[in-house]
């Protein structure tokens, strides 16, 4: 299964850094936006498995994006990216349904990859249950 990952950050260089590293893994298809509103359109329109989003962004911030994603798709995995100075906002995110968090600057991109791998593995496991539930309903 190929997992669609959507990266949301107003800093294009952060997006580029993550994209170049993560796309080396063939299991992932990487998409990205700098505008949180466009991220919401994509989540609404396409099947996005994992959203990796910054918290501090102009217009809609990451927490507002998280809340709106939860309305559209309760199963989409949302991982918050945050600087240490906004760590208190991470707690708020976890309470509002974020699935994990990553601290910036990234100490090691391999750790970022690891968090995504764990999340993807979780989705893979859920897939079986969800498909059998769906088949049962039909």
């Amino acid at each position: 299964m190929k997992f669609k990952i959507l990266i949301v950050d107003d800093e294009i260089e952060i997006i580029n850094t993550l994209t170049r590293y993560l796309e080396l893994d063939e299991h992932y298809e990487i998409d990205s936006v700098t505008d949180p509103a466009k991220a919401l359109e994509k989540v609404n329109r396409d099947k996005v498995h994992i959203v990796l989003t910054d918290i501090m962004m102009p217009g809609m911030n990451g927490i507002e994006l998280l809340e709106k994603i939860r309305v559209i798709d309760g199963l989409s995995q949302v991982i918050m990216m945050t600087a240490f100075s906004t760590i208190d906002r991470v707690v708020e995110c976890l309470e509002k349904g974020a699935n994990d968090y990553i601290l910036k600057p990234f100490d090691d991109l391999a750790e970022v990859q690891n968090i995504i791998d764990v999340t993807a593995a979780k989705l893979e496991r859920w897939k079986e249950v969800l498909e059998s539930y769906k088949n049962g309903k039909e």
């Binding site: 107003d10 800093e11 260089e13 952060i14 580029n16 850094t17 993550l18 170049r20 590293y21 080396l24 501090m56 962004m57 102009p58 911030n61 600087a83 100075s85 910036k104 600057p105 990234f106 090691d108 991109l109 391999a110």
Partner: protein, 413 residues
């Protein structure tokens, strides 16, 4: 006694009284006629001027050259005498023998009758008072300097979190890029080994992968270079700001000081709006070419950066307090104009404006409209001080939905 006699007696009595009074006064007294000739000189003045009345009686006061170096005093005397005006003047004088002291002089022409008049000159030695006054003024200047430095340190503290965040972003992607480089190196090594295998089937595919990686390497290299440049810019702005403002006689490029100030507050604004300089949107990645756009003034780069930081923070605070229902983004626009004799720097904001009755008060120390936990009320008063130190001015006026703070400073080039 007839009225005429009574009048004569009284006049004589008053004249004697005045004579005794002027003679005994600890203030120097000179009485001169309409031509400026000395009629009377009291003992205090004799001692101060080093003269004896009998030697200078009926000499022209100006010819005595008591203070030959003080043209202002001589001019004032001539003006008072010819123009029949009363003048008061306080100044430091140098006597003909080199002695220096401070005097307070009053020159009072008095008309006795239509054809004759005379003048009275009072001179008080205020050297002690002047010295004390000077000491107080210097103490005040030292305190003002201390206040400006303290405000600067407070600003550094307040800006530190934002600056740390600004440094975080380029650090994140430069570090991430280095790790990607390492991974690319492993992949290229692996692909190279595959290519060396004579039995390899997907040679084209491998070569395509290698070329993609090499293209990415170039992009990563550029991105990392830009990232470190961004870090260097932030550090340079900080260094320029925190160094002790030693002299006010540097050649300062106004554009650079404005850019430094924006860099240091950028984190406060980047998520809520934008800043422009003469219509160009500011971005940490781009900088104005200092040679093309240099506008040079004489002063202290540190102080001027501090002034612009104060104006920026003030505008941002105003916008935050007055956020309108439509959640309009903050827009801060620097308009820099080069005139023949001065430079004007206007900062327009959309922070809701300042009531007319407060537009002078906001420059007073400790006046603030912000909640006490955030505002000390010193910012704009310090900005005004810094402007004054540079021979400039700072004013505010109303614009649509906001305020314009205008800073004017004399040009050197």
């Amino acid at each position: 006694m007839t009225n005429a006699v009574k009048s004569l007696v009284i006049n004589n009595y008053v004249e004697t009284l005045l004579f005794d009074l002027f003679s005994a006064m600890p203030i120097g007294v000179v009485i001169y006629d309409r031509e400026g000739k000395v009629i009377f000189l009291n003992a205090t003045m004799e001692e101060r001027w080093g003269l004896v009345y009998s030697e200078v009686a009926m000499s022209n006061l100006l010819d005595l050259e008591i203070y030959p170096a003080n043209a202002d005093l001589n001019r004032a005397f001539t003006e008072a005498t010819h123009g029949q005006k009363t003048l008061g003047i306080e100044l430091e004088v140098e006597r003909h023998d080199g002695r220096v002291y401070w005097i307070n002089t009053s020159i009072i022409p008095l008309q006795k009758d239509r054809d004759s008049w005379y003048g009275v000159l009072f001179e008080q030695d205020i050297s002690t008072i002047a010295v004390e006054k000077k000491a107080v003024e210097e103490d005040l200047k030292d305190r003002e300097k201390l206040l400006i430095e303290q405000d600067k340190l407070a600003a550094v503290g307040q800006l530190a979190a934002g600056i740390a965040h600004e440094l975080n972003t380029p650090t994140t992607y430069v570090r991430g890029n280095m790790q990607t480089f390492a991974k690319y190196a492993e992949i290229l090594k692996d692909l190279t080994e595959q290519l060396q295998d004579d039995n390899v089937i997907e040679k084209e595919h491998i070569l395509t992968k290698m070329n993609n990686i090499i293209d990415n390497v170039k992009e990563i290299s550029n991105s990392s270079f830009d990232g470190t440049s961004r870090i260097m810019k932030i550090i340079s702005s900080m260094k320029s700001f925190v160094k002790t403002a030693s002299t006010k006689n540097e050649q300062v490029n106004i554009f650079l000081t404005i850019q430094d100030a924006i860099m240091l507050v950028y984190n406060r604004i980047k998520h809520i709006g934008r800043i422009t300089i003469n219509g160009h949107v500011f971005s940490p990645e781009t900088s104005i070419n200092p040679e093309e756009d240099a506008i040079i003034v004489k002063g202290s780069a540190t102080r001027l950066t501090q002034l612009f930081i104060i104006l920026l923070n003030n505008a941002i605070d105003a916008w935050i307090e007055n956020q309108n229902k439509d959640h309009e983004n903050i827009n801060l626009d620097f308009i820099i104009n080069k005139k023949s004799k001065f430079v004007s720097v206007g900062l327009n904001d959309n922070g809701g404006g300042i009531p007319t009755e407060l537009r002078e008060k906001i420059f007073e120390p400790f006046f603030t409209t912000k909640a006490t936990t955030t505002g000390t009320g010193l910012g704009l008063s310090i900005a005004k001080q810094i402007a004054g130190e540079h021979g400039g001015t700072i004013t505010c006026s109303e614009i649509k939905n906001g305020t314009c703070f205008m800073f004017r400073i004399p040009r050197t080039v």
